[in-house]
Symmetry: C2
């Protein structure tokens, strides 16, 4: 928690914030070892960043006197990430990694090799997803909450949704064996598509390429999704 992210309901009035959830209270006590009088970095969800003085720390509340929170969050990555739904624990970690790296649009996609049971995981509940996004933002000192949606059918996604996403954006399908190495130093908007463990099936790769995406690879090593997604983002931008 390199930044204490304030939800709108944490702000009592212009100059006072009150944090009451056990996770943040525990973190303030155990990791920050915070004491009344400490000045910490805070940010408002989808707003600015600044400092605040801890004026009260009790079992169920931390209260901050806020200075001006007007520093903008770090720049976002110009990418819409389309991720074949990983298994639940890998989803959780991947959401934290990519949020910390600055991804702001994430679509979780069903593909042939996604296990159907993953769609029933509690990790997909909005509150759980929100929790991982917040952890990623707190880590990276960011305030801009990513948007996450789901596409539970591959064909409707490719036929109806992808053409819109590709308007004004470069489409990149990361898949082992594709002809081009992952490009570097991009600044234009992209859609980055990453398959599940075991990869996209050949039919899916064909449809994505037909839709106008370029196939890219990360070399001969096959990486786990959570490793590959970080490596791709780090190399692309």
């Amino acid at each position: 928690m390199n930044l204490i992210l304030l939800a709108p309901e944490d702000i009592r009035h212009d100059r006072l914030a009150s944090v009451r959830d056990p996770r943040r209270l525990r973190h303030l006590r155990e990791v920050h070892r915070a004491r009344v009088g400490d000045v910490l970095t805070l940010g408002v969800q989808d707003g600015g960043i600044g400092r605040g003085e801890l004026t009260l720390l009790s079992d169920d509340e931390a209260r901050f006197a806020l200075e001006t929170l007007d520093t903008p969050p770090p720049p976002a990555l110009p990418v819409h990430l389309v991720l074949a739904l990983p298994r639940p624990r890998m989803l959780a970690r991947s959401l934290e990694h990519v949020t910390a790296m600055g991804v702001k649009r994430i679509t979780l996609l069903h593909t042939r090799r996604v296990e159907k049971s993953y769609w029933q995981s509690p990790e997909l509940e909005p509150a759980k997803i929100h929790e991982h996004l917040v952890l990623g933002l707190e880590q990276a000192r960011d305030t801009a909450l990513p948007e996450v949606d789901v596409a539970k059918g591959f064909r409707p996604f490719v036929e109806e949704r992808l053409p819109q996403l590709l308007e004004g954006r470069r489409g990149l399908v990361a898949h082992p064996g594709m002809p081009s190495p992952c490009p570097t130093g991009l600044s234009e908007p992209c859609v980055l598509l990453i398959g599940p463990e075991g990869g996209f099936i050949p039919y899916e790769v064909e449809r994505l390429l037909e839709a106008g995406c370029e196939g890219i690879h990360l070399g001969p090593r096959i990486l786990r999704v959570e490793t590959a997604v970080v490596a791709l983002l780090a190399r692309l931008f």
Copy 2:
């Protein structure tokens, strides 16, 4: 397990391998859904890669008839990674990530902000470290086992060990706020040093720079060690 990594003791004779540990047997059954007659990819630790036919699968043994295992493993990264010892679970995942990416030399370093208790973790036992290295190799279809050592004193490391490591290698200290962005597309040998959660302390950064390392950064976002290490390797090479 994109490759079944055979330890020397798994090889009965020239053309026969026998796998007996529960982890790999379970994986063969549950993930590969392997049946007698299936041909799978195998590799010999620190040796070549090839195919083998499953000739027996019982509760306590999988037996393979080996073809020639003469495909070399994928290229290694020319980097010696010096990682401030992360907390145990992050160590485990980081070892898997960096092994999958092709790192072959890893030194785990004590620095001021490494919690002393981490050095007592069971994750540091050679057998546990070996397990994570093997998982990384199996993921990336590699056979060359990384070497991992520890440096439990920062000063002896900087004064005695680092000068040797930097002979013929470029030293890079990844630390927020350093003047240069992380370089890309390197092919020369490097030593990459990464601090703990909370970073190196200023004294440590100074000593590393004095020793001849360059300070590099990944931008304004503060990443967790396991995210940063993947992002740095992906960008450097």
